[in-house]
Symmetry: D2
């Protein structure tokens, strides 16, 4: 008989918005929460008996109820509450993974009273993944869709040429990418003090941007390593970083047929291509630490 | 024989990035330019003769060449150059419409040298549409995907009830929308002085946000009118505004089954719904002016 | 004071699935219905009074209730029921437009009992738009996302060359497009017999595909005209057709650097490009008829 | 110093269309090919030296050249050619993974000559992933976006109730999902005879659909297991299957406020919800076989 292997279930993409009122000053937390549970679930697969199954609808209700009962201090803290609840309250559930996307909002400056008007920031999406097995925690935070560009200080040459190589070497090119990154915390145990999740995110994001900006790049791999190693160097709470960086190609347009020289000291015109794109992915680890972030990041 | 009616053709979505270098300080213009031409084009439809057809590939080349030759001062100015070129240089072309999407970038703050590192702003997309028929101009600017929210100061009651009405009246709700707006300039003639397109955009965007924030709303229609009329009142260069505002519903979650009261003085938890959504659309005109912006905005 | 121009409101994207049971044989109708209403709506914009406003939530309820009460014979018939209801039951509503997307399902062939298992067809989306002003009807049907390709029998040459033209002439190319089409019926009055909407759709779709396949094409404009004129010629119930045809470019890859000739009698390898793309749009009319389909189709 | 962990690079989303001509009868292969390579790549990350780096541009060229030189018999066979080439021709490359999406086309029936007109099938996307380390092969095939529905023969009851459970039990519901599946072949060695990849795909797809249709479902987990075990039982070339099945909820609309009973013997009206959705994922293995398909499928 075919054997049941790894399995998990839950309610994905619960869109929860929490408004906290401090008089006329309001605060927003805007999350997309996905719950994934595992445990003694053989029977529901083999026979369809739901005797061990907490309905996904219940997990949805729990997300909303917890947002009221416990508030949303940070995505990570909220995920920890949820994961602990599912594992400790249900005998059949031995593992809970909470994935959260967070959308940032800024205040609209205006001359009216109160502070309860917002515009969505629209830049990166913040990510958090919290996993609990009843004993130890794994927290992976990250971001996606942060689009960055250096308009110079990037070269690409000295590479292998085989019979299919036609690319000319480049000594001054645009380097642009849409950053997708994840970082794993060394907080694993309730006995440890938890990191300041929001401060950690802000600083890690800052290091990511600055390492990108400050690296004179001979390859996107080099830039990636600089981004990751700077995080490891500066953020003691993080042991592992993984980036997935599409090389968003900007090709110099050939304007010679029109009697124009494109790359001149005062700038140039580029064609921003869609597909195909280079895709550079790597993990950077604190020395002695184990890699645990999945190598394909798209669905963290 | 079936008759040929309105027709237009061109190259859509030319992705052009212009870097301008001022020493180590660089500037970006990042556009998506669509060209649409019309004129004496019966024959290509009836017989397939291309004798009057400037290829769409040529219109693409022109976009890139003009970005180098003329630079990109603003989306509107760039579109004016292009539209004028197609209509005045080709006998068969009597009308050109240039649609432009513009993506904003911010500088990355860092301690390295130079100023050539950028992060995409990610908020709204700026829009411009320039139409020229050889004699007069029509310029419509706008924006899309600007997501805003008031977490209070919105009510909805006193509406018509019929046999299909179940909605309870609301005296304090979230009002959120994804603003799509267009505004038409009264600049139509080369003899007039052109507006300062970038300043006009910045101010119109500001008025849009502030009118949204400062309106105590009894209906999204009322908020829309306030947004539009504030632009007409403050921006003499604009005669017509149209907004398309999806009502991004945020429903109070019923937490009573869990023994929780949701809407309390310190805030509440909402479910952000995807579909369906209310959709409110209207045009606001300067008194005495004609409406020319299409009533369905999705593809301006 | 700024003047209110055209305005409309309603609930967009009501996803309604109707299962009809004929014993163990079930039938599906799977629609996405958007309601848009207009009429005496000045006050809600100017003062926020909702005294004339039927809530968008009520229009949503009406869609679901009508699906049960009246069934869904066809998208067009369903839209006619809805539009008539809103205009005739509410004094303030003078115009109703119902837009419907319909998704097709096929039966899964299997050896079990019953006929209630389906797989979504996944090809084009069928479209219908019904507008009623209390007196006369306008019905526009159509489709989108029907992707077609001729791998030969397409040429492109004899076009205008200006200083920005670099495109070589082509005597055998791929012609591919993603068909977006709309057609307007001459049924406008309840006194006329209504067309057989489903039969009309099936035949119009067939003519579209066959005209595309059977036209030896010298330009995409010519193919478009053949598609439209064939519908006008064969479908007496239709007076106007509009197509929006992106030219989905398939470029011959240059394999000469690798010592390979690409276009050989046994075939060739192409690069399917994303952006930019040619965009060809035109209306074809029955002689003597007026054009009423909007020239920009993206949101019909 | 921070340590480099797993890393991979290549060109993603090479869109290759191969037309094969057999006189006036043409055949299409339409693929999206992503190349990912790994090996001795430390230096490019640490110092930016590209001395071991075959450019991603070269891998793109190779995809197109191989489509001409070797043809595209099947996605799997094409991927095997490519993976073998990269690993055996470059000293520094020790592992190649080729991921392919394949889009199906059907012939347009028409009365013209030749057979070179096609319409894109539009249903599921076929998937293949081929990995080679110089010694052994791993081939995982699959599909995504195959949307299926049973309009009856599905129940859900007998589940765990906790304080957050409000879901009523269901004895007759719609079961709908968008199938994402992967299956791993036990072909790992050039010495083995390769499977008939296309026949294997066709049969595995058929079993997937039929198992979905023929299972009277007490839970989506049970249906998933039936789908996977049927493949293991019937397809000896496959040792492992994983499915990711979103529960596309179709909720019975409450029509009682309008005096209507919804679920009647002749059918019912449902609201097709977007988010949140249940998400059920599991692996089914041939007894004694190891699980190797990643548990999170979104980017296979």
């Amino acid at each position: 008989m075919p054997i049941l292997g790894q399995n998990q279930y839950g309610k994905a993409e619960n869109r929860v918005v929490k408004i906290t009122r401090d008089g006329a000053t309001h605060h927003i937390k805007d999350l997309n929460v996905s719950v994934s549970l595992g445990g003694d679930m053989d029977e529901v697969h083999y026979s369809g008996s739901n005797a061990s199954v907490l309905p996904t609808d219940t997990t949805k209700n729990t997300v909303y109820a917890f947002a009221k009962e416990h508030g949303i201090e940070s995505a990570e803290q909220f995920g920890i509450h949820l994961a602990r609840h599912f594992v400790t309250s249900q005998d059949a559930i031995h593992r809970a993974r909470i994935r959260i996307e967070e959308y940032a909002w800024e205040r609209i400056e205006h001359s009216g009273e109160g502070a309860h008007s917002f515009v969505r920031a629209g830049q990166e999406t913040r990510l958090a993944q919290i996993t609990f097995d009843g004993t130890s925690w794994e927290v992976i935070s990250g971001l996606k869709d942060l689009v960055v560009m250096n308009s110079t200080d990037s070269e690409f040459w000295g590479y292998v040429k085989d019979k299919y190589t036609t690319l000319p070497e480049a000594y001054d090119r645009i380097l642009a990418t849409q950053v997708s990154g994840r970082w794993r915390f060394n907080w694993t145990d309730d006995a440890q003090e938890t990191p300041d999740w929001d401060e950690s995110y802000a600083q890690t994001r800052r290091h990511t941007l600055q390492a990108f900006a400050e690296t004179y790049s001979l390859s996107l791999q080099q830039t990636l390593y600089q981004m990751g190693s700077r995080i490891i160097d500066h953020r003691g709470e993080i042991d592992e970083v993984r980036f997935s960086l599409p090389n968003k190609h900007h090709f110099l347009v050939d304007l010679e047929p029109f009697g124009l020289k494109n790359a001149t000291p005062d700038g140039a015109v580029y064609y921003a291509a869609d597909r195909p794109y280079g895709l550079i992915e790597a993990t950077i680890l604190r020395d002695g630490c184990e890699a645990r972030i999945p190598v394909d990041l798209s669905n963290l």
